[in-house]
């Protein structure tokens, strides 16, 4: 379980997180929605310890990771996998090397064993036979799926998705949504996704939380989200320019 309490983060004069409180249960899929630039990705990077908060606490399975030194943090990160917005595949490595990098660095598995796991994970995301290609030779949707294969290669307990469907055509976005649901069912993982794509949010979420002005202002099931009377959430899910959220 992950518990985030009163999390604050400032970049120069820009206070992005202003007291985020959120609890995530083991095995659930929570989708954090919010406008572009509202701090959703920053929140994800705090959960995995890439960013350190100014104040506040993040507790993962009873351990307060916000107090951890760099070396301790590397151990905790083995519980997580992360799919980045732009996939963040390593340009200089092949698909096989990208997906197998974590296994190569953290396990004593032989090369054939790693190859077997990589092939299995690539088949899960529907991309068999592309092991020797470089990221530059892949389409946007393929990159996302390779990024997902890399995130699940070590079979983590929790997968973080940063804008998993952004920049994809609707059909590929649906393929990614189904993969996220498949991963939850196959691996029984906790999933945390940030997005502003409401189609994706309704499809994959057990629970939806909205981040607005640096705080979580709403949490509820997809059904509760659709029926909420909160004017800020309503404006966002209906995609209206008029309302309490100023279109700056």
């Amino acid at each position: 379980m992950i518990r985030i309490s009163d999390l604050h983060k400032k970049f120069r004069d820009n206070e992005v997180l202003r007291g985020v409180d959120l609890s995530i249960q083991k095995g659930e899929t929570i989708v954090i929605i919010g406008r572009s630039g509202c701090g959703k990705s920053v929140l994800l990077k705090h959960i995995i310890g890439i960013l350190k908060p100014d104040t506040g606490r993040i507790v993962v399975d009873g351990e307060e990771i916000t107090r951890f030194e760099a070396e301790e943090m590397y151990e905790i990160r083995k519980k997580f996998g992360m799919l980045f917005q732009g996939s963040a595949l390593f340009d200089s490595l092949t698909v096989e090397e990208n997906v197998g990098l974590g296994l190569r660095e953290h396990t004593n598995l032989s090369k054939p064993e790693i190859q077997e796991i990589v092939q299995e994970k690539l088949s899960w995301v529907g991309l068999s036979g592309i092991e020797n290609l470089k990221p530059a030779q892949l389409s946007g949707g393929m990159k996302k799926r390779v990024g997902l294969a890399r995130a699940i290669a070590m079979e983590p307990e929790c997968i973080l998705y940063d804008e998993p469907t952004t920049g994809l055509d609707p059909i590929m976005a649906d393929v990614i949504n189904h993969l996220i649901i498949d991963m939850r069912n196959k691996l029984k993982v906790t999933s945390i996704a940030v997005t502003h794509d409401m189609v994706a949010a309704y499809k994959i979420a057990d629970r939806i939380a909205m981040l607005y002005e640096g705080k979580i202002i709403f949490t509820g099931t997809p059904e509760e989200t659709k029926n909420t009377t909160n004017p800020i959430v309503r404006q966002f899910i209906e995609g209206r320019g008029e309302g309490p959220i100023k279109a700056v």
Binding site: K45, I48, I50, Y74, R77, F84, A88, D91, L101, R150
Partner: protein
């Protein structure tokens, strides 16, 4: 520029703060790299890749630049000798200038331009495309995986390149002296051998170890702290080259002072 004219004190204050922040940042970066030792050394394939990139791939450029460096040193030393000294001493003067100063410094400057810029651009691009964050998310230290192999490879390969540069530059100087300056090869080499001291070679090599470390450390640091998109990568690349060259020249003075004394 406006800030300089409007309020010079604020300008100086801001620049000083930036300098202090950068010195602190580089110091912590060096500490992190040192902490990686000796575990980082186990990734031999990463170090080998960087040794190939920094060292082997730079050999043609180093040969070309050092050949002309030796040639011009011979021509200019002969011009300075013309009314003062016998040309018999040309070999010694050229060799000492190359071994102590020109070989290590010019090799380092060439490597800063070729390797430092490439390194900062590569790591800067990795930073802005979240590839460095992706390494962190895989529980892999970017310092251990990216910076340490580069710094170690620079520490090893820049001195080796300097040895090649020294040899080629002396050959270039010898060729020009014997072909155009009426100094025979025998006279040139006899003078070189007669006045050669081992300190000439070791001082130059000591400098090249320091320069190799400076280039790779500064380039990695600039790459890791890149912000923004393509513009940020461009700025990081420029800073990596400029700061490396300035520090090479500053370190040159200090190493020379330590080895030869200032008195």
């Amino acid at each position: 520029m406006n800030l300089v004219r409007e309020n010079p004190l604020v300008f100086i204050g801001k620049k000083s703060l930036t300098l202090v922040r950068d010195v602190g940042g580089v110091s912590l970066f060096i500490k992190d790299i040192i902490k990686t030792f000796p575990r980082g050394i186990s990734r031999t394939h990463l170090v080998t890749e960087q040794m190939l990139y920094i060292g082997v791939n730079s050999i043609p450029l180093v040969i070309l630049t050092s050949l002309f460096t030796g040639a011009v040193t011979s021509v200019q030393a002969a011009y300075q000798f013309s009314d003062l000294l016998s040309m018999r001493y040309l070999g010694s003067a050229v060799a000492k200038a190359i071994l102590i100063e020109l070989g290590p410094v010019l090799t380092a400057v060439v490597i800063a331009g070729r390797v430092g810029a490439g390194m900062a651009a590569e790591l800067g691009t990795m930073k802005v495309t979240e590839q460095i964050d992706a390494l962190e998310s895989l529980a892999i230290s970017p310092i251990r995986y990216l910076a340490f192999p580069r710094v170690l490879a620079g520490f090893i390969m820049v001195p080796l390149l300097t040895i090649i540069a020294n040899f080629i530059a002396i050959v270039g100087g010898l060729f020009v002296a014997s072909s155009f300056l009426n100094v025979s090869s025998h006279t040139f080499l006899t003078s070189f051998k007669l006045f050669f001291k081992m300190t000439d070679l070791t001082a130059g090599l000591l400098k090249s170890f320091v320069f190799g470390t400076i280039i790779t450390t500064i380039s990695c640091y600039q790459g890791f702290r890149t912000e923004g998109g393509a513009e940020g990568v461009g700025k990081a690349t420029t800073r990596a080259v400029v700061v490396s060259i300035v520090l090479i020249l500053v370190a040159d003075y200090f190493v020379a002072s330590v080895v030869f004394g200032t008195g």
